[in-house]
């Protein structure tokens, strides 16, 4: 996923779309908006970011899960949780540097799935589809002709907390 911070206005439509699409219970969220201010007054800059699970290439949540409930889907490289295997031990939550996971009232862990059910049907994740500024892009980074690959080749970008060593797959164009 690639998100253009120059276009994001922090409207939280992505958050509402996610809650609606995935029936996220009230009081919980799979994605959120971060307002990042940097610099020193009066030389400040503000950046809006739509954040979520980074579906890392080296996912510490998967490594820390004692039952195999957290896993990387081989077909899509998306990190998912199997509720039938999850004990709710919260090891994956402790392991995630992005605090992207939470426990549902039912007792198992939940998080962003990149709307894998939509992606398998050839659709974009709900957040990407709903974004009114078209700041969000979703695709296959292994395909050099995909939108996301071309954006990363032509624009400067960053990832969140790269030093955590998780090799995140949500990129922010700067």
């Amino acid at each position: 996923m690639v998100i253009d911070t120059k276009l994001c206005i922090g409207c939280a439509d992505c958050v509402v779309a996610c809650k609606t699409e995935n029936e996220v219970p009230e009081g919980y969220c799979r994605d959120w908006i971060a307002e990042a201010t940097s610099g020193t007054f009066p030389d400040l800059s503000l950046e809006y970011r739509s954040e979520r699970c980074n579906h890392c290439d080296s996912p510490p949540c998967v490594h820390a899960c004692p039952t195999g409930a957290s896993f990387v889907d081989e077909e899509s490289n998306v990190t998912l949780v199997d509720p039938d295997l999850c004990t709710g031990c919260k090891s994956c939550i402790a392991a995630c540097p992005y605090d992207a996971r939470f426990v549902l009232p039912e007792g198992y862990v939940s998080k962003c799935t990149f709307c894998i059910h939509r992606v398998r049907e050839g659709l974009d994740p709900a957040c990407v589809s709903a974004c009114p500024t078209r700041c969000m892009h979703f695709g296959d980074l292994n395909d050099p002709q995909s939108d996301v690959s071309r954006l990363l080749r032509t624009r400067s970008w960053k990832v969140i907390a790269p030093a955590a060593g998780t090799e995140p797959n949500v990129y922010y164009l700067t």
Binding site: G27, E51, H63, G68, P97, R101, F102, Y108
Partner: protein
């Protein structure tokens, strides 16, 4: 550096500060460490053939109940309890919690066999009566006795594994800078053995045995204090995240908890009392060992809390 404000991010127990583990996990880690310490000291006593220090061998019988209590506390912490059996339908080599589950599964039967192997010498009277009522116990003792040394050596290895595991469980979380140092494993092991030495002193009726474990405990407390100091040094000489994590106890919100509760009351006070007693002072015999055990518990509460207060992103 950037200042972050988030909207819509208010997941229970995650935001604004991570608090996924309450009293259950520190209690589990404490009971696991205490059980590991008792197993280690008891097994060493068996290997050395020490008749003068029977309590260490008697308390081998407390190891499995303590582990069971600890696992009970962990069970209470699980949010999806119906799936608890899933710990034993997988072995995930990268997950310390998975290692711990399987190590505990091996430690319990080995401990029970070691108890059976030593039962006739440790409880000669009671065992004779028990064998008459439950002949299977006699057969179990007869089966275990010729294997005592193998069982004792296995217990030493398993005790060290369980003791270190209780610390490695936390230190493996790179996302929590306060935990992310491998020295936590040895600290938890030493702390667990120290608590076990305290427990033996509390239960023992022999002045000589109490004195022996008091001397051992003094050494263990000194080692623990040095290791905790080294942990802070490691954190302060590490990357930004661990340096920031260290400030929790160097002027931050856990400063008083660390210096007063963990260090002064949990470690230095029992160390001073035990040293004083060894030099001939007459103090209530239960005081120092009770403080050692309480200190070991407080330390785990402190560490579990501190780690959850640290992370990579200041949401």
């Amino acid at each position: 550096m950037e200042e972050l404000i988030t909207t819509q991010k208010l997941n229970p127990h995650i935001d604004p500060v991570l608090h996924i583990w309450g009293w259950e996990v520190p209690v589990y880690l404490f009971l696991g460490g205490l059980a590991a310490g008792l197993l280690l000291l008891g097994a060493i006593s068996v290997l050395r053939g020490e008749d003068g220090r029977p309590t260490a061998q008697r308390l081998l019988a407390a190891v499995t109940p303590l582990l069971a209590l600890g696992m009970g506390a962990l069970f209470l912490d699980l949010e999806h309890k119906v799936n608890v059996f899933r710990f034993y339908t997988a072995f995930v080599v990268t997950a310390p919690m998975s290692w711990g589950s399987w190590i505990l599964l091996v430690a319990v039967p080995v401990n029970l066999l070691l108890v059976a192997a030593t039962a006739r010498s440790v409880w000669p009277g009671s065992m004779a009566g028990l064998e008459q009522r439950v002949p299977a116990l006699g057969r179990l003792a007869s089966f275990s006795e010729p294997r005592t040394r193998v069982l004792a050596w296995s217990s030493v290895v398993l005790a060290v594994a369980v003791g270190i595991y209780t610390g490695i469980l936390l230190s493996a979380y790179g996302a929590r800078p306060f935990w992310n140092t491998a020295i936590l494993g040895p600290i938890f092991l030493v702390s667990g053995v120290s608590a076990a030495a305290g427990a033996i002193q509390l239960v023992s009726r022999s002045q000589g045995e109490r004195r022996w474990f008091e001397r051992l405990d003094v050494g263990l407390l000194v080692v623990e204090i040095v290791l905790i100091g080294l942990m802070l040094v490691t954190m302060l000489s590490g990357p930004l995240q661990t340096r920031q994590a260290a400030t929790l106890v160097l002027g931050g919100p856990l400063t008083v908890a660390f210096w007063v509760l963990v260090l002064a009351i949990g470690l230095l006070l029992p160390l001073a009392l035990e040293t004083w007693q060894l030099r001939g002072a007459r103090l209530p015999a239960f005081l120092a060992p009770l403080l050692v055990i309480a200190g070991s518990l407080i330390f785990r509460f402190f560490i579990v809390e501190a780690g959850q207060m640290t992370g990579w992103i200041a949401y």
